[in-house]
């Protein structure tokens, strides 16, 4: 842990202002930020999307995205104001003294070059390191970051590695010149929880080993508490609160900071099981072309209950949703809705069968036609299924808007005039307009900020109670499962590994994979990662068990 505080700080931002020149007048996306970072210190930047976290992270490299500009303030790195330096000097610092690790490693590597060539590029071209020495250095880092076969992995191309492995190569690439400062921009956001743990351990290991200062950007409080000595909470380009990690967790001063915990606090009171099944899947199999993605999946969703479908990416949970919705015909097994078989193909389903099952997508931006007003969007199912017109339709529209807690004035807007949370509420209203019996929610809160997530989940809970809906809720987030589910089904490689009541599965999992999955979900506790790694170091840990 950090102890030294004396001496000149490594990085100092004073009253930093960055403007984006959009249509019309420039908009301040970073508005008067003061930051200090000492050598060897890890600073966590946290906030929702649009808070200016990434912009500040890039500003630490003396860089702004195209369309933005530094409109005021200073950024001193090692006593030099980066903003006064000529561009070529700034560029010389990047990669050598200040390094950057991007969110999507998959998108950041050039697919046409071998990894080793990309890893040593900055070292040989900017830092004047010899090719042989740089490669040796890279291999040592690969080994340190626990990449498989570190001596030869560099000869591979980016597409031959998994997302987590690529992220580690990118960290090695950033460390190769032993920079004074690394900016990590959400390096684990696109990864599954089990992979996330490994990356977090890597990041902490290298940063401590080389005494590198780091800025760690994330929207996940639990993640940042594992790494950061100090946390800065950002909102609308300003600092809301700044405190050492433990102090902030123990006593957050601002309401906004407390709201970042919001989703984790919701707990659903278990719904009594009425015994009546609404949706039944028996031995369902499905495949894309000749690739099987679902094998012998059976599950039951009771009337008025919520079943959470949990798993990592590629586990087949979204495919299952598509099968139930009728978008992908199953190759085996049966799908029963209230005892009656649902045809596998969409076009074989009757209008009433379509009405009874409604799917809500993950991204509300993509699920709303940008050219249809909210009135058209929600009104269409009313007209199609119930033949509502004129005043009756308008009355029902107002009812639905009230149900999803939206102002009726929004009815005549287009989707682009709404926020992400509002758009998702519109999507929910559109599904409710059909008067469904089963709602399939495919990661409906994943694209939203924490605070908005909490609101949407609370609303879904209320709606379910009021309308007696059954819900198949697909998610990879355990906090969301706690908030919404009565029952949990865990999937892996297209098959169900465990299912049961929520508390049984979450508190006393019987399957090894479920235990691994749950153990990888970070807690808002600075000692969580340390404890987890200690447990794993014990022989016979869960990785071996699998």
């Amino acid at each position: 842990m950090l102890t030294e505080t004396g001496g000149v700080p490594l990085l100092v931002m004073r009253d930093l202002v960055i403007e984006a020149s959009g249509a019309g007048r420039p908009q301040r996306i970073v508005d008067g930020i003061d930051l200090e970072l000492h050598a060897g210190e890890v600073l966590g930047l946290i906030g929702e999307s649009g808070a200016g976290k990434s912009t500040i992270g890039l500003a630490a490299l003396g860089y702004v995205r195209p369309g933005c500009r530094f409109a005021g303030g200073t950024i001193h790195f090692n006593g030099q104001n980066l903003l006064d330096l000529p561009p070529q000097h700034r560029r010389a610092l990047r990669g050598t003294r200040i390094a950057y690790v991007a969110q999507s490693a998959t998108a950041s590597f050039n697919p046409a070059h071998r990894l080793i060539d990309q890893a040593v590029e900055t070292a040989t071209r900017q830092a004047g390191m010899g090719r042989r020495q740089a490669e040796q250095e890279a291999r040592e880092l690969f080994a340190r970051l626990a990449l498989p076969d570190p001596d030869r992995i560099g000869e591979r191309f980016p597409h031959e590695l998994s997302g987590g492995q690529l992220q580690r190569v990118m960290i090695a690439m950033a460390m190769i010149c032993r920079p004074d400062l690394i900016v990590f921009d959400e390096p684990t956001t696109a990864l599954d929880v089990t992979t996330q743990v490994e990356i977090l351990a890597c990041v902490r290991d290298v940063v401590e080993a080389f005494g590198t200062a780091a800025i760690y950007i994330t929207h996940d409080l639990a993640v940042v508490t594992q790494l950061a000595h100090r946390i800065v909470v950002l909102r609308h380009g300003r600092i809301v609160e700044e405190a050492p990690t433990r102090a902030m967790l123990a006593a957050p001063r601002e309401t906004y900071t407390r709201s970042l915990w919001a989703v984790r606090k919701i707990r659903k009171a278990p719904e009594p099981d009425h015994g009546a099944a609404l949706l039944e899947l028996a031995g369902v199999g499905a495949s894309y072309g000749s690739v099987p993605v679902l094998r012998d999946v059976s599950l039951t969703v009771g009337k008025g209950r919520t079943v959470a479908l949990v798993g990592e990416s590629g586990s087949g949970k979204s495919t299952l949703a598509r099968v139930v919705a009728g978008l992908l015909p199953p190759t085996a097994g049966r799908v029963l809705l209230q005892g009656g078989g649902l045809p596998g193909r969409l076009r074989d389903r009757s209008r009433d069968e379509l009405r009874r099952v409604q799917l809500i997508h993950q991204s509300p931006d993509a699920a709303l036609n940008p050219h249809h007003s909210i009135r058209e969007t929600i009104g269409r199912p009313l007209q199609l299924y119930n033949g509502l017109k004129g005043a009756a339709r308008a009355a029902r529209l107002y009812e639905l808007m009230a149900l999803v807690e939206l102002k009726p004035e929004l009815l005549d807007r287009l989707p682009n005039a709404l926020s992400g949370g509002q758009k998702q509420r519109v999507c929910i209203a559109r599904a409710l307009a059909a008067d469904p019996e089963l709602l399939i929610c495919d990661e409906v809160t994943s694209a939203l900020d924490q605070v908005v997530q909490a609101d949407i989940l609370a609303m879904l809970q209320r709606l379910q109670k009021e309308l007696g809906l059954s819900c198949l809720f697909i998610t990879h987030d355990i906090a969301t499962v706690r908030a919404i589910a009565d029952e949990v089904v865990v999937m892996r490689h297209g098959a169900v590994v465990e299912s049961g009541p929520r508390d049984t599965v979450l508190e006393a999992p019987s399957d090894a994979y479920t235990r691994l999955l749950l153990s990888c979900v970070p807690d808002v506790d600075p000692d969580w990662l340390t404890r987890l790694l200690q447990q794993r170091a014990i022989p016979g840990d869960m990785h071996d068990a699998l």
């Binding site: 919705a325 009728g326 978008l327 969409l346 389903r349 209008r351 379509l354 409604q358 799917l359 997508h361 991204s363 993509a366 699920a367 709303l368 036609n369 940008p370 050219h371 249809h372 269409r380 199912p381 199609l384 559109r430 059909a434």
Partner: protein, 283 residues
Amino acid sequence: MTGIAALRTAPLSARIGLAIVATYLFCLLFAPLVAPYGETEIVGGPWAGGFWDPAAEGPATLLGTDHLGRDVLSRLIYGARNSIMLALLTTTLSFLTGTTLGLLAAVRGGLIDQALSRLVDLVMAFPTLIFALLVLAVAGSTLPVLIGVIALLDATRVFRIARAVAMDVAAQDFVEVARLRGEGTGWIMRREILPNIVVPLATEFGLRFCFVFLFIATLSFIGLGIQPPTADWGSMVRENAAAISFGILMPLFPAGAIALLTIGINLVIDWAAAGNHGLSDER
């Protein structure tokens, strides 16, 4: 309104383009009022007069007379009517066909997409001019045949564009939502996808219009397009091509008229495509 506001902020190039197009439109609509002489009226000797030759005998003609002694300016003005209206009609027809089939292929996919796409590949495999010449030679060079042939040939290009942009939109979740709701193909094409591809299609319309226009001029130049004595810029160039060897400027005027309109339309399209001004859709 917004259109007028957009005009005020339009760059110079767009204003020039709009001025050119407006002038042509004016001539097109009010040809009998604007033209000093009739379309086929013989006013003097062949290739005589013009502003560069104030001493010439006969009635005053700004751009001189053609090989039969008809007023070039009047024929240019009447020609605008024929050339532009024909191109407009043909392009509209080709867009109706191409967009409808393109959307159908994108939405239905599978066999329908394969059949339509291969058919289009087949038609596109023939060089356009040769194909047009063949059909016109067999079926005779009448106006309906001319329009039909060019519209068909052009519709293949429109099909490709419409299908490509519609495919992108058809992959979006909101189209999936519409399918799940049980909407028919027609609704998905018209209500879900079409509004989202209007901008690229409109841009393409402008470009295609110029191509069609030039194509008709080409056909007229080789004698298969609009038939005399009807005035048309392409045939005017052909009829008077020989004059060039005598140092007479006359054939350059219809050629220039074609070039100027093409430039004008492209200036307007560039502006419209860059800012989507004048088109209501912004994504």
